[in-house]
Symmetry: C2
Subunit: 349 residues, 2 copies
């Protein structure tokens, strides 16, 4: 494969190459890349803004994350934040800092993913910056979205008795990561071995190429179902439940048997000797939406194929309880990924 | 001085510490830090968005750039991009990636500069991200601004015959950098030597703590003077003139004797054996505004203390000419900083 050095293009040449295929699809994008700033016409709506950084060696590992997927993911996870405000994403800016280790062709791949995500979600790439870095790759995405008048939903509006709802299925992204890390270890000890990823495509995609639930935001609007509070699941269900509780000043009761898990994720967790419930609670990176709704809206959510009612909010902010499948009450904990491994070790010992 | 390790606070603790003094001043800031995204009410106006990255070892050198100034500069240079659209800045998001080399106290300093800039310009810090990095410090700022209906000014609206106008004075930031680099070399060869910066405060401030010309944007609105095209001067006057010419499909004639330079900048350039005109044309980082106006608006600009009319736009896009003080016509060149040094060496040899 050809390798073109970044410096051979210069900064302006590189920006032109990476952004020349950009098309503006949103009527609100009045002016995009190529000026001092982009100009957006919100057409009477409110504007929602979110920024995320992805750093090599911290948020991703290029030994198993393809650059195209990484570009896609960098955009999608920001769009997920916009969805978590009950808004629909409309524009992104993408900034990258790269060392000379990366070729122009590598950045083409990264931007192919950025452009793909923009096309899939109908959002416009309207700006950004490119810089050299002394080491590694760093991507910063800022996403903008629009929301009608009073429809924005923060983390703080839940009331006692509200039902807790989650979209899709949980734990898949975490189990995808476990498979990737297992194969990386195998590869490091026997570099001629072929990675054994077959059958795991679904959970690998959950990890490497997550999606933002714009579909759910549209369906909630169609149902005239406005959540009372909302957040997206980046760190793990338990941790996000804690954020909603803290922002709304409430407690929570969760039901283990209501937590949605895909059968393949469940089986893979068992194969890895991990507790599937712990993977759902603490795995993270699912980018599903977690929200509360008034009990009056229960009928709208009850049989919706993308929604699971998993618990309810409590007046007592010190009570955060998980009701296990056996009917036992245990305190809900947010342990994060390290916690899963330690808990697993404790179980083994 | 105390040194607190970043990891002792954790990500959420660090964010809380760096942002707890944040106040929202803009009526358009409905929701700031602490949710999935910020919510802005543009109140019928258009929204202008710009993003810039500053990377250690590329855009700044911590051996002479104090962290507080760096935080201030990171915000100010983004606000300058908003001004260059004829908009007034209203919000910023600030994201940082830092290695463990930096202490919490160092980041306090950086954010003191961020908060200072927000206070000076009346803009609100409404979001961002913090991450660890494998090496060095990287800052990404996204700035938002608002502009009335049709008042946004791009780079592409200039017409032949329009007058070219620049704000303030040029070359100061570049000469400030020369002083800092000279003292760094002295310090490296004799670490006990005290840096000799006295008398250079003005140009050092131009380099380390540049300002965005929000004052000029307000005054242009008061004068009912809408530029036909506009850009801010980050790379150097000549390079920015070329951008305006390219975007508007025009040529230009510049007059050397009209270029504004501060007497101290002029004298320092001479002391460094540099051509003051070249410093103005190619020095960069002045963050002044460069714009074109219709000849009908000449009277509004002519005696304005902050504005200099330095030339006019030509129909022939291949003609880019500098009329020297001696009345000679020479082709205008955009050489960048390296070019200045080489040109200086050529002059010396």
């Amino acid at each position: 494969m050809q390798r073109t050095e970044i410096e051979s293009l210069g900064e302006f040449g590189l920006i032109r190459r990476l952004t020349e295929q950009t098309v503006l699809r949103q009527p609100s994008s009045l002016l995009g890349i190529g000026d001092d700033a982009a100009v957006i016409n919100p057409e009477g709506k409110r504007v929602v803004v979110s920024t995320d950084m992805l750093c090599e060696g911290v948020h991703f590992d290029l030994s198993y994350a393809p650059l195209k997927h990484l570009g896609y993911k960098a955009v999608a996870v920001n769009l997920s934040d916009i969805c978590a405000m009950n808004a629909l994403p409309t524009q992104v800016t993408v900034s990258i800092a790269v060392s000379s280790r990366f070729s122009v062709e590598a950045l083409d791949e990264l931007y192919a993913g950025v452009h793909k995500a923009c096309a899939v979600y109908g959002v416009d790439l309207v700006g950004g910056d490119t810089s050299s870095s002394t080491s590694g790759l760093m991507i910063t995405v800022t996403a903008l979205g629009l929301v009608d008048g009073e429809q924005a939903v923060s983390r703080s509006g839940a009331k006692a008795g509200d039902l807790l709802v989650v979209t899709g299925e949980l734990g898949g992204a975490y189990m995808g990561l476990q498979v990737l890390e297992r194969e990386k270890v195998v590869f490091q000890s026997a570099p001629t071995a072929q990675p054994d990823l077959s059958g795991h495509e679904g959970i690998l995609e959950r990890q490497l190429k997550p999606e933002a639930r714009t579909d759910v935001i549209r369906e909630l609007a169609d149902l005239e179902l406005k959540p009372t509070s909302m957040i997206d699941i980046s760190d793990g269900l338990a941790s996000e439940v804690f954020h909603l509780c803290a922002s709304s000043g409430l407690g929570v009761k969760l039901y283990e048997d209501k937590l949605p898990i895909d059968p393949h994720t469940y089986k893979t967790a068992r194969d890895f000797n991990l507790d599937p419930t712990l993977c759902m609670l603490s795995g993270g990176e699912d980018y599903e939406l977690l929200f509360t709704i008034s009990q009056d809206d229960y009928e709208k959510a009850r049989n919706h194929p993308k929604l699971s009612v998993i618990g309810h909010m409590l007046e007592d902010k010190d009570e955060k309880t998980l009701i296990t499948k056996n009917g036992l009450e245990t305190p809900l904990k947010a342990q994060g990924w390290d916690g899963i491994q330690q808990s697993n070790k404790a179980e083994e010992s």
